[in-house]
């Protein structure tokens, strides 16, 4: 498969490939705009997504040194205010902070990129990768463990983070991925990293990208898991249904979908903007 000349791998497009090859083809290779509703209830999802984006921006502003009190004046919605209170009271470890940090490395001749919400390097040399989650449900750990994000971010930091460690790559053992849930501040999901995981991730990502490049167009088939299609804008194109599924019915076994309701969520936009 020839990918578009400006294509770059991200956790989101790799996840799409894993979830449904056809979706990867339509969304990331053909870049097909297909404006169906992704999931219901559409207005609530949109509001949640906007609140998530605002929360991320405020977190960024706080991390570059804007006073919390000044930022708190901008809260005009109770759920966001609750998240903000939680954020304010979480005790981030001491250390150098790199909010909204972009990283890149080469994967099968293409760039693999990610934008992390916060990299925090402690005085003891630990490298903590934070991701703020603003979904209403806390996703089961085993689901998060299998997400591409959990593999791509620590891997990329180990690969491409030397600039933040006095020119030396971070040893995998010092890297940790932390999902911090704005609605569940006391129960962050933490994933330690080590050399075995790093090697496994390297082999896995390389293999995944290699598979994508080796497949012919007709091999990007529809997912056998039709449940995916209820939350996918291409369902009419694939003859996989009419109505968008409701996020309330989302199967827990599939984990929580991204908190953004959109076809291209703000995390993806951040990742692909360059």
């Amino acid at each position: 498969m020839r990918l578009p000349p400006d294509f770059q791998f991200t956790q989101a497009n790799l996840q799409d490939f894993v979830d449904c090859r056809r979706r990867f083809l339509l969304r990331h290779v053909r870049r097909l705009a297909w404006p169906a509703i992704e999931s219901e209830p559409v207005i609530e999802n949109e509001q949640l997504s906007e609140k998530g984006a605002r929360f991320h921006r405020m977190a960024h502003q706080a991390l570059i040194g804007m006073p919390f009190e000044r930022l708190a004046l901008m809260l005009n919605e109770p759920e966001l205010a609750g998240w903000w209170t939680n954020f304010q009271s979480q005790a981030l470890p001491e250390g150098r902070r790199y909010p909204e940090l972009s990283l890149q490395a080469t994967l099968q001749g293409y760039r693999l990129v990610a934008k992390v919400d916060l990299l925090l390097v402690t005085p003891e040399g630990r490298a903590l990768v934070y991701d703020w989650k603003t979904s209403r449900r806390r996703t089961p750990r085993q689901y998060m463990a299998a997400r591409l994000q959990t593999r791509v971010y620590p891997y990329l930091l180990t690969q491409a983070g030397a600039q933040f460690n006095a020119g030396q790559p971070f040893p995998p053992e010092v890297v940790e991925m932390i999902y911090w849930y704005a609605g569940f501040p006391d129960a962050p999901e933490r994933f330690a990293y080590d050399d075995d995981r790093y090697r496994a991730d390297e082999a896995y990502l390389d293999d995944l990208a290699g598979t994508i490049l080796s497949l012919a167009e007709q091999d990007f088939g529809l997912t056998p898991d039709a449940g995916q299609c209820r939350y996918c804008v291409y369902r009419s194109l694939c003859d996989r249904g009419v109505q968008a599924g409701s996020l309330d019915d989302w199967d827990e076994a599939m984990g929580a979908p991204d908190e953004s309701g959109g076809n291209l969520d703000f995390e993806q936009i951040a990742e692909i903007e360059f």
Partner: protein, 722 residues
């Protein structure tokens, strides 16, 4: 030394520039095509290879397309992992910083709600708000002496504000500057005062509602954020290395900013294209750019061209002289270079033309020549550009059709295609009226609109059946449009339409009626549902129709953006945002112009583009076709009664009157730069499409045509006139 050097071929001066120590501040100048950008790319890759973190490098470009060669290199070169290089335009950087630092500066900048987030306006949403403010003023006699489409008046008012921001003068001085340079009939001074009043009211409205158009974003950045220690400190700390491409195409406030920024940087490379400045109508100012040369200790000049053949260079020299000689004697051949030993001009092989009587004949000739180039000479289609001063729908369609007959695909670069002109969008708008009967203007939709929508939306529906059905099915109940159930259509018509199509019609009708009975949703959500649940399902016209999907997506995106921005000012009017959007689309205020369909570099397709757009994409081709050579549009400014780009520049002396002579001189200069700029992006040959009668059927004898005539008269034998 550099491993990437095997990946790009560099001339010795380019390699030398790339190898200069990391801590170098370089001003690089040279003509188009002399290899400056390649040197810039090599310098960038060299910095990365020498361990400079990508995130500490900022690539600043006047428009994003000019960053393409850098992006391409960053994607393809084998570079070490790390943080990516940033690419920004001034406005992109401004928007990003405003968004981040808003809480710190909003109050000082005069915004009424500093605790609410800013709302960034696009060109069309800015135009929308401006239209709302200005429309009532027309009744008060504003612009009474002007006959021009209102949307063009709005865009000129915004343009004035943008000029004030990028040139760096207070927006309250717009009128006064225009008036003081005006020496014609006195009524025009009133027009300029009206334009000032509109600009001031708009600015005030923006401040009251946290709205940021382009001009306010730039002003906020330049006047409040850059002087702010926190914001400036963050920029200075983040970006230690700067590469600025096409410095001459950028605006004076960018140059001011750079002048303050340069002393703090570890390195910089400023790239300046001599004889360019194509974007002066947007505020680009080569003279302002050139002062930065004095701030760079290392100054490098490239000469010659890596792009054009010696014949094209010779053509450029001769044409340049012919343009400069105006109506004087025929251009004499240049000393030495431009004449071959047997007295044939050296540019002979670089120029082909044929004079036709009528415009369509000329287009036939162009298509025939393209076919010959592609099919007989093996020129790849993407190496051919067909250029005209303007590229209207009719011309684009005629050319694409003719090329298609030869089996040659074409793509068009036309940044002003309005979404509502697209059939799938027209269909969606018609169906929107039917689903929101209260929103429809009295006569909408018409029977024709409905027939057209049925043809688009129901698979297998032809125009004849659609018209027959529309004639009977479109009802007006209390003045509101309604659709008749299929079962109530007369039996003979049902039969004629067929039951299969009737079923589809009925499915669509019921869906619309069901929707209309429930509380109305946001317009973009409605459109998304209509598209996903009906029109793109099997049996309907958008199913697997990728073009329709794209057009619908553009409309949905436009409506969504509008909702997010316009809701701010509509809350007190009690009018649904969707209804307002539809009215603005009908009015042409919202044109929903989208770039998505011609983003990217289509391989294997001939490019159809307006000349300036091609120029600013800065991508040379083997062969160019120039159409409408006799047209005055190659150099004449558009009629802009509310603005004047030259007078609003920094170079215009205060109080000096703009005269016809100034107008003529600037037109000539613009044409000279444009023609030579195009030739600098042509490797091998230019074809002139000449017709005695232009597209509108009139004879045309503009300056460019006359220059070619002079040039050809001077030649002993006409170049490749066929």
């Amino acid at each position: 030394m550099f491993s990437f050097m095997g990946e790009i071929t560099l001339s010795p001066p380019q390699a030398e520039l790339a190898r200069l120590p990391v801590e170098s501040k370089i001003f690089l100048e040279g003509p188009d095509g002399s290899g400056k950008t390649t040197a810039g790319v090599a310098r960038l890759l060299g910095l990365l290879e020498r361990g400079v973190p990508g995130a500490s490098i900022l690539l600043l470009v006047p428009q994003r397309s000019l960053g393409q060669p850098y992006l391409h290199a960053l994607r393809t070169a084998s570079l070490p992992p790390g943080s990516p290089v940033a690419l920004h335009t001034l406005s992109g950087l401004a928007q990003r910083m405003v968004e981040l630092y808003w809480p710190l500066v909003a109050e000082a900048a005069g915004f009424a709600h500093p605790d609410m987030p800013p709302v960034f306006l696009t060109l069309e949403t800015a135009q929308y708000y401006l239209a709302r403010l200005v429309r009532p003023l027309f009744d008060e006699g504003f612009f009474a002496s002007i006959t021009l489409d209102r949307n063009r008046l709005y865009s000129q008012i915004l343009d004035n504000l943008n000029k004030s921001a990028v040139v760096g003068f207070a927006h309250t001085q717009i009128g006064q500057r225009l008036v003081s340079a005006w020496g014609g009939e006195p009524g025009q001074a009133r027009v300029y005062q009206d334009a000032q009043e509109c600009a001031s009211r708009f600015r005030q409205y923006c401040l009251e509602h946290n709205l940021l158009d382009f001009s306010l974003q730039v002003e906020l950045f330049v006047r409040y954020l850059w002087p702010d220690e926190g914001c400036r400190g963050a920029l200075l700390e983040t970006y230690r290395h700067l590469i600025v491409e096409n410095l001459e195409e950028d605006v004076p406030v960018t140059h001011d900013l750079l002048a303050e920024w340069l002393p703090h940087l570890d390195s910089c490379l400023l790239i300046y294209d001599q004889e360019a400045g194509y974007r002066s109508f947007l505020g680009a100012d080569p003279r302002s750019a050139y002062r930065l040369k004095a701030l760079c200790p290392q100054r490098v000049t490239f000469t010659g061209s890596f792009v054009t053949s010696p014949m094209v260079i010779a053509l450029g020299e001769c044409l340049g002289r012919a343009l400069q000689t105006g109506s004087q004697a025929p251009a004499s051949p240049p000393p030495g270079t431009s004449e071959t030993s047997d007295s044939l001009p050296a540019y002979q092989a670089a120029l082909s033309f044929e004079v036709q009587r009528f415009y369509p004949q000329m287009l036939d000739w162009v298509a025939g020549q393209v076919a010959q180039l592609v099919q007989d000479e093996g020129v790849p289609p993407e190496e051919i550009a067909i250029l005209a001063p303007f590229l209207g729908d009719a011309l684009r369609f005629s050319l694409a059709n003719r090329l298609e007959r030869y089996g040659i695909p074409a793509r068009s670069h036309r940044p002003s295609r309005s979404l509502r002109e697209q059939p799938p969008v027209q269909c969606l708008l018609t169906l929107t009226y039917l689903a929101h009967p209260g929103w429809a203007l009295p006569a909408l939709p018409t029977q024709f609109d409905l027939a057209y929508a049925l043809m688009q939306s129901l698979e297998g529906m032809d125009l004849v059946r659609a018209q027959l059905l529309a004639e009977k099915a479109l009802l007006r109940v209390d003045g509101q449009p309604r659709l008749l159930p299929f079962e109530r259509v007369k039996a003979d018509l049902q039969e004629r339409v067929t039951y299969r199509l009737g079923e589809r019609y009925e499915h669509l009708r019921q869906w619309l009626e069901g929707y209309a009975q429930a509380p109305a949703q946001e317009l973009d959500h409605f459109l998304g549902r209509l598209f996903g649940e009906v029109l793109s399902q099997p049996g309907f016209g958008f199913h697997a129709n990728l073009d329709a999907g794209e057009a619908a997506a553009n409309l949905v995106e436009s409506a969504q953006k509008f909702r997010r921005v316009a809701a701010v000012g509509l809350a007190d009017l009690g009018k649904p945002v969707g209804q307002e959007y539809l009215e603005m689309v009908q009015d042409g205020v919202i044109a929903a112009q989208y770039l998505r369909s011609w983003r990217g570099e289509a391989q294997g397709a001939v490019l159809l583009a307006p000349a300036y757009t091609f120029l600013m994409s800065n991508r040379p081709v083997e062969v160019q076709f120039w159409l409408d050579v006799g047209s005055r549009s190659w150099y004449e400014r558009l009629y802009q009664p509310l603005t004047q780009p030259h007078v609003l520049s920094r170079n215009w002396p205060e109080g000096k009157h703009w005269t016809d002579d100034d107008e003529y001189k600037t037109s000539q200069e613009a044409l000279y730069r444009l023609a030579l700029g195009l030739l600098a992006r042509c490797r091998r040959r230019v074809y002139l499409g000449l017709s005695e009668l232009g597209e509108q059927g009139y004879e045309q004898r503009g300056l460019l045509l006359r220059a070619f005539q002079r040039l050809l008269r001077a030649a002993p034998q006409e170049a490749s006139g066929v």
